[in-house]
């Protein structure tokens, strides 16, 4: 099972702050998961449609799209950060 978290504009577009997801068949990387979520429903399409504006963290570390995912990972999706 994966724990997915959404922040800021992605949280609003997904309509939720988090969810648990069993790793779907054929999903090996963050990029695969992004495509899966985009194709899943209208909220996913809205949140992940502009993939250039989506960033990810795996287990609280910023992670490129090529990062491999494992059962038990906490994967967060969010837009580019704007702190400071």
């Amino acid at each position: 099972m994966l724990k997915l978290l959404y922040f800021a504009s992605l949280r609003e577009r997904m309509g939720r702050t988090e969810e648990d997801l069993a790793i779907p068949a054929g999903i090996a990387t963050v990029a695969d998961l992004t495509k899966h979520l985009q194709a899943r429903d209208a909220a996913g399409a809205a949140a992940f449609g502009e993939s250039s504006l989506v960033r990810a963290a795996v287990n609280q570390e910023f992670a490129p799209a090529s990062t491999r995912i494992r059962d038990g990972d906490e994967i967060a999706f969010f837009p580019p950060v704007t702190g400071g």
Binding site: S9, F62, P80, V81, T82
Partner: protein, 154 residues
């Protein structure tokens, strides 16, 4: 070892400076940056800025940024405090302090800390305006460029 805090409450810059200096006389200078919510005027004047963050990750990310500064410069103290929640124009958002024997490393490290923090700490700003609109602040290329200048040459 840096002091890192993520909090909704205001911070006391004077108290944080005193903490760095307490019980020692080897510090020759402290570089400081205080980020403040900048107001604006007109129909779309800024009413508030709300900062969201990723609680499980934020302190770790800030600690890593501070550790990177301590690797690059010979620091005698380092403080990073970042607020979250709803702030209004004039409110301080972030404090970075870097203490060293001389001004060059202190100022350079403070500049580095805020530049890296802007692109590597999981915070997002949402603006509420006088006309009722609410929008997320978009990341700007100049922040990426400011952070990138520390990537090479050091």
């Amino acid at each position: 070892m840096a002091t890192v805090r993520v909090q909704s409450a205001p911070f006391d810059t004077g108290a944080e400076l005193a903490n760095l200096l307490a019980g020692r006389t080897d510090i020759g200078g402290i570089g400081a940056f205080v980020g403040v919510v900048r107001g604006s005027s007109g129909e779309d004047a800024l009413v508030s800025m709300t900062l969201e963050h990723y609680p499980a990750m934020t302190a770790r990310a800030l600690t890593r940024i501070a550790a990177e500064a301590e690797t690059r410069w010979d620091l005698l103290g380092c403080t990073v405090i970042h607020r979250f929640g709803r702030l209004v124009p004039g409110d301080p958002i972030v404090l970075v302090l870097a203490a060293s024997t001389h001004r060059e490393p202190a100022l350079a490290a403070a500049s580095f800390l805020i530049d890296w923090l802007k692109t590597r700490a999981p915070f997002w700003k949402q603006e509420e305006r006088q006309d009722g609109s609410v929008s997320w602040v978009e990341a700007c290329a100049s922040d990426d460029e400011a952070a990138a200048r520390w990537e090479s040459g050091t």
